[in-house]
């Protein structure tokens, strides 16, 4: 167990193992994504209320779910980096932020596009939408803070502090935004979640959610590899790698 932890902290080992994981995981992910999309778009019946526009669900919901989960991954990595001073946790945390931001962006944009045919407007100040917007800002904050620091080691620590502070606040944010909504506005707009979802729609959705989790993992690993190379650019193993690459 301890040696495994020790290895996790070793950049060359992580670089190597993530390379072999990606070699299998990435094609598998792309395959699952394609299958899910084809299944969802071509082979399911339209929703009885929303017609064909509901097909956005196959990207909207997975993106939203994984974007939320991604924040916890980031915060946990940040915590590990601060408490156990593990360099690679720093790297993982930094790699989470842009991926999470991208997924949040996808959820926001697809949701907004979906809103036009169903609600008649791209944007309403609804609790769920607002809290998603806040999540987007939280991710961007981490990215921006990291970029603003010259010393990348310090940048990692600063972002770790920020993401930990963010975790304390995330439940508060969600609770308060939910509450705000129910206080001020009669529920004029409802997600269609109440109509229990038909299995023929559920299975492709589950496939897509799994595929998005896998996609998140792939992107995380790829970003980590790039980050490792940048941080370790003066070590022997990277130099060797650079010479071999030519």
């Amino acid at each position: 167990m301890w040696t495994f932890f020790h290895k996790l902290g070793s950049p060359p080992w992580l670089y190597g193992i993530s390379g072999s994981i990606l070699r299998y995981l990435l094609p598998l992910t792309l395959l699952a994504l394609t299958m899910g999309v084809v299944w969802g778009v071509l082979f399911t019946e339209p929703d009885f209320r929303q017609g064909n526009s509901y097909r956005i669900i196959y990207i909207h919901v997975p993106a939203a779910v994984v974007a939320l989960a991604g924040y916890y991954v980031m915060a946990i990595a940040g915590g590990i980096s601060l408490i156990w001073k593990m360099k690679m946790a720093d790297v993982a945390m930094r790699a989470c932020a842009p991926v999470g931001a991208a997924l949040t962006f996808i959820a926001l944009v697809t949701g907004a596009i979906w809103g036009k045919p169903t609600w008649g407007t791209y944007w309403v100040w609804d609790a769920r939408l607002t809290s998603m917007l806040i999540l987007f800002f939280l991710y961007l904050g981490v990215v921006a803070l990291y970029e603003a620091y010259d010393n990348k080691e310090a940048a990692g620590k600063a972002c770790a502090v920020l993401s930990l502070v963010g975790t304390v606040n995330i439940p508060i944010i969600y609770k308060s935004v939910d509450w705000w909504y129910s206080l001020h506005q009669p529920a004029s707009i409802k997600f269609t979640g109440e109509s229990t979802i038909d299995p023929s729609m559920l299975y492709p959705l589950l496939l897509m959610i799994t595929a998005f989790y896998a996609l998140f993992t792939c992107l995380l690993l790829m970003n980590m590899r790039a980050e490792i190379l940048e941080r370790e650019s003066r070590t022997k193993w990277v130099r060797k790698l650079a010479q071999e690459a030519r």
Binding site: N151, E153, A154, K157, R234
Partner: protein, 196 residues
């Protein structure tokens, strides 16, 4: 009081020092030598514990220290007296009489209650140097303490450092001026370490 073990630092793509080891004992007066950009300030900040990332090696401090950097840490909006009595370093709460004495010793007699922004460059730095008269910390890390100080002031400061070393303190300082202390000075070179 202070031991540095195998310190290495790279900044902006240049290796400033590598494998630097030395120990500083009570009674030592050490001048860090080096041209502009050699890495003296960077070293002092590492020794003080202000820089914690980006260098290799270990530093051990076994005595309270007083660090004076390039920047003065003196607030222009406060008078010299206020600057000292509310100093953020929090080593101690000094009595008004002690502060007055220290200000007099750095030649600021009569300027105790002038806002510091109305002081000349040298007087401004002297407010900070007054802390040397007040402090009880045995280890002093001084980054170019003579900046903007006139000839008499430099002599007084040299005498103070010698007295501090005699009493069992230690001083590590950087300066581009030659120091004429009546005391054995040591040079710390960033490439070769401590030497007589």
């Amino acid at each position: 009081m202070l031991a540095a073990d195998n310190l290495s630092l790279e900044r902006g793509g240049r290796q400033l020092f590598e494998g630097l080891s030395f120990a500083i004992q009570a009674g030592q007066l050490v001048q860090v030598a080096g041209a502009n950009g050699a890495g003296k300030t960077s070293l002092l900040r590492i020794l003080a514990g202000l820089s914690r990332y980006g260098y290799l090696g270990r530093v051990e401090r076994s005595a309270p220290l007083l660090y004076l950097g390039h920047q003065s840490g003196v607030k222009g909006m406060l008078t010299p007296r206020e600057n000292l009595s509310w100093h953020v370093a929090g080593e101690g709460i000094y009595s008004d009489a002690a502060i007055e004495r220290a200000l007099e010793q750095v030649g600021l007699y009569g300027f105790e209650d002038v806002p510091s922004h109305a002081l000349s460059a040298g007087q401004h730095r002297r407010v900070n140097l007054a802390r040397l008269y007040l402090s009880q910390s045995p280890l002093w890390l001084l980054d170019e303490p003579f900046t903007a100080i006139d000839v008499d002031g430099v002599a007084a400061l040299e005498a103070l450092m010698v007295a501090h070393a005699r009493e069992g303190g230690a001083v590590v300082l950087t300066s581009h001026q030659v120091i004429n202390a009546a005391y054995p000075m040591q040079q710390l070179s960033l490439s070769t370490g401590l030497s007589q």
